[in-house]
Subunit: 205 residues, 2 copies
Amino acid sequence: MSTITIIGAGNMATAIGTRAAESGHTVEIMSRNPAHAQATADRIGNGAVAGTYGSVPAGDIVVLAVLHQAALDVVAHYGAGLAGKVLVDITNPFNADGTGILTTEGHSMTQQIAAAVPDGTHVIKAFNTIFGHVLAEGGPHDVLFAGDSPEARARFAELVTSLGMRPLDTGGLESTYVLEWTAILLMGLARNGAGWNVALRADVG
Amino acid sequence: MSTITIIGAGNMATAIGTRAAESGHTVEIMSRNPAHAQATADRIGNGAVAGTYGSVPAGDIVVLAVLHQAALDVVAHYGAGLAGKVLVDITNPFNADGTGILTTEGHSMTQQIAAAVPDGTHVIKAFNTIFGHVLAEGGPHDVLFAGDSPEARARFAELVTSLGMRPLDTGGLESTYVLEWTAILLMGLARNGAGWNVALRADVG
């Protein structure tokens, strides 16, 4: 088991943190608002702690669970503190009505983050194609992910497996843009009959 | 049961036609090459027939099972013959190595086709997010689709259900662009560990 740091204290931070803590990982929650970080750590329980926002994360895997509008500012604020980490971007750069994305091919939110992190930091996109309340309910969900190094992708896959879910590698850093569109697919399914508990899966033949 | 016309005589035409004919529909195959149309109709069996390329399709649902490069030419060639039909675009406008698409937001292949068909023709995108050999194997696959009118989407969903598969509506015409990216997601999964028999699904909660 390992230590997972989550930057953010909202629903996705709580859902991911709860699964990690229940699976025996040490969870550290960091938020610009220390009271929120503490409240989220308390809600997660199982030994979860609040860390100091902006200090070097305790975890080798750091989940960036903030809104897309804040992601680059947060990465800049942490700066060298992220060196050597596997940084997991869960953001969805949706347009105002959630029917499209604000990023462009080759410049996904994850690719923008990858351009801003210190050398030796690896960036993964994941958890953006599953609704937070679905993740929170538990169950052996499929977790679609992509990222910029085979080693980081293997490390992330190991984490997902330890949480009782199935990691599904969709490719390198360029594939993070595809995952941003995949979240729009999920929204389209939810709005057109599948409902808001829908989850994407793959049958692996 | 109804009549389904398929323009094209390749693997996807065969896979879709076989499922339709096995499900009791009358299948008409049209191809620029009459010998190919006849051979594909024979392979499909169950009463499938070859139609005359360019004549008015017998089916109220017409599946455009040609390569994306040919789609607009074929639509122009049929012209008014497509009036009132539900036209199902299955094309994938992939780039050369299948890592991205050649279309742009608001101008999906399906949207380009929709702009070229006669008034009263409705356009659906479907079957582009499932591999032909997976479709051919049978089974209760999920069929992601999108299209430009609720009535046409309902008619298409009815067809998919009659083929023993589950239709999953992902939205209106703008969502056809998302489905073009979804095929790239499928390619990414296939190439990064899931293998070439992978099929996308949704758990509907």
